[in-house]
Amino acid sequence: MNSIIQYFKEIIQGVGSLLKGMRVTNRYFFSPGKIVTQKYPNNRKDLVMFERFKGEVVMPHNESNEHKCTGCGICEINCPNGTIEVISKTIITEDGKKKRVIDKHIYRLGMCTFCALCVKTCPSNALAFSQEFEHAVFNRALLIKTLNKPGSQLMKGVE
């Protein structure tokens, strides 16, 4: 007798637990609440990333095409996998002194692991992260970027 009661009890409990789950899904079907997915390429315009989002390393330039990179190479030393290469050149300044400035600040996006050591250790805050995240390109060579813009100069007052 006990086993028969147990048998029916099991069935009722089982069906009860199933109905409990169905209640949740059924409720979401009829009142989905907030749709959590995004229509990604369509919402590009109003898609705002967080300001600290590590998209890619950039070198901010001001309006007169000046950057803060002194070419010290600390970012290159700190980079764990050889993403950054700083090529510097020597120029003669207006007052006749020799000065080392960067020729090219090469950044290989394809190798970057976004550890943020270059941005953090840069003594003159010349590097920053942009919020750009659409990195796909058709040619691998396009992933090798030169961060300083052509004709740019060192910002005044930065040593």
Partner: protein, 378 residues
């Protein structure tokens, strides 16, 4: 000539065109008479068959495509998503795009597969679907063949689809496919019993196996209400067993995505895969349609006792829509199962059948027979 006949037949209809939604028999009668008046009986029947064949082909494709998008939308809303939303308004043409893609896809030949059986399997599954669809009553007078053993025929034919699944698994020469097919064989063979017994419960109540008569017997009340608890139990058991029959929801052991990658149709590609995929949805439709016919009154409107006004309003909705409304309600239930429950294990599946459903079902049939004998149903 054919079009002429049909247009003549339509023009001879005495009622306005929308009345045919309430009773299709006048339309079919008119077409039949028109054809017979201008052709020999042999050609008339042949042309009628052709028309029915084309209608069913279209219906098959439409229902398949619609159910696929419906399933994707239902599961999306359950999961707080939007579902397909790129192609057409609200993504409604997504399945058509998918179909076109599958049509153009390469049919990958499998080395060491049994080519003939491999190609045969999807067709068996599809043909079984067509045979069952033909016997269902879709509305008043909208019934291709009305066998006097209609429901028996439906069970008998639908159980043949397992042959297609077994062939697919065996001929693919893949280990995952074989395991999936064997599971499916064990599953369908055992759940046939439950389906059969649940249907017998209704047949006892209706006193007939003819689908049109079963529907007609529900004019005074749907069987699920008429038959008290036993009919309700039979309905529940039918839905569970039907879900298992279609290899869906918590019983998708034959596919078992997380265990067997895709089960019996792992090796299929392109349109052959599409056949299996469509067949799954048509199977679901068949199960739901049979449930609607047997338990929810088929195309009969919902009537409550002596509420004349209410009953008249219900009558205003065409029987055609009643049938599909009920069917889609059952389909929604089956979809809800799939998107809520985790999958059973193969031995639990068989335990559920042999230890729970079958004994309850047997007792249920007895109680129902007793009820009918004593005339205690409504």
């Amino acid at each position: 000539m054919l079009l002429n006949t049909i247009s003549n037949a339509l023009s001879t209809l005495s009622e306005p065109w929308w009345k045919i939604f309430y009773d299709f028999s006048s339309l079919t009668q008119a077409i039949d008479e028109g054809l017979r008046s201008s052709l020999s009986p042999f050609w008339a029947v042949t042309i009628e068959m052709l028309i029915i064949g084309v209608v069913f082909l279209l219906f098959y494709a439409l229902i398949g495509l619609f159910l696929v998008i419906a399933e994707r939308k239902v599961c999306a809303f359950i999961q707080n998503r939007l579902g397909p939303n790129r192609i057409g308004p609200y993504g409604l043409f997504q399945t058509i795009a998918d179909l076109v893609k599958l049509l153009f896809k390469e049919l990958i030949p499998i080395k060491n597969a049994d080519g003939f059986l491999f190609n045969l399997a999807p067709y068996i599954v599809i043909i079984v679907n067509f045979m069952v669809l033909a016997a269902l009553p879709y509305g008043k007078g909208l019934h291709a063949i009305d066998f006097n053993i209609g429901i028996f025929y439906v069970i008998a034919v639908s159980s043949m689809s397992v042959i297609g699944v077994l062939l697919a698994g065996w001929s693919s020469n893949s280990k995952y496919s074989l395991i999936g097919a064997m599971r499916s064989g064990a599953q369908i063979v055992s759940y046939e019993l439950s389906i059969g017994l649940a249907i017998i419960t209704v047949v006892v109540l209706a006193g007939s196996m003819q689908l049109s008569e079963i529907v007609e017997a529900q004019r005074t009340g749907w069987f699920i209400f008429k038959g008290h608890v036993p009919a309700f139990l039979a309905f529940i058991i039918y839905i569970i067993a039907g879900t298992a029959e279609t290899n869906r929801g918590p019983f998708d052991m034959a596919e078992a995505e997380s265990e067997l990658t895709a089960g019996y149709h792992t090796e299929y590609s392109g349109i052959k895969f599409a056949f299996f995929y469509l067949a799954e949805y048509i199977n679901m439709f068949i199960v739901a349609a049979v449930a609607a016919t047997l338990f929810l009154g088929g195309w009969m409107p919902f009537h409550v006792g002596n509420w004349e006004g209410f009953n008249r309003i219900m009558d205003f909705i065409p029987p055609f829509f009643w049938f599909f409304g009920k069917t889609f309600f059952v389909i929604y239930l089956i979809m809800l199962f799939k998107w809520t429950f985790p999958r059973l294990r193969i031995d639990q599946l068989l335990t559920l059948e042999w230890k729970y459903l079958l004994p309850i079902n047997l007792v249920n049939v007895l109680i129902m027979a007793f009820l009918v004998l004593m005339g205690w149903h409504f």
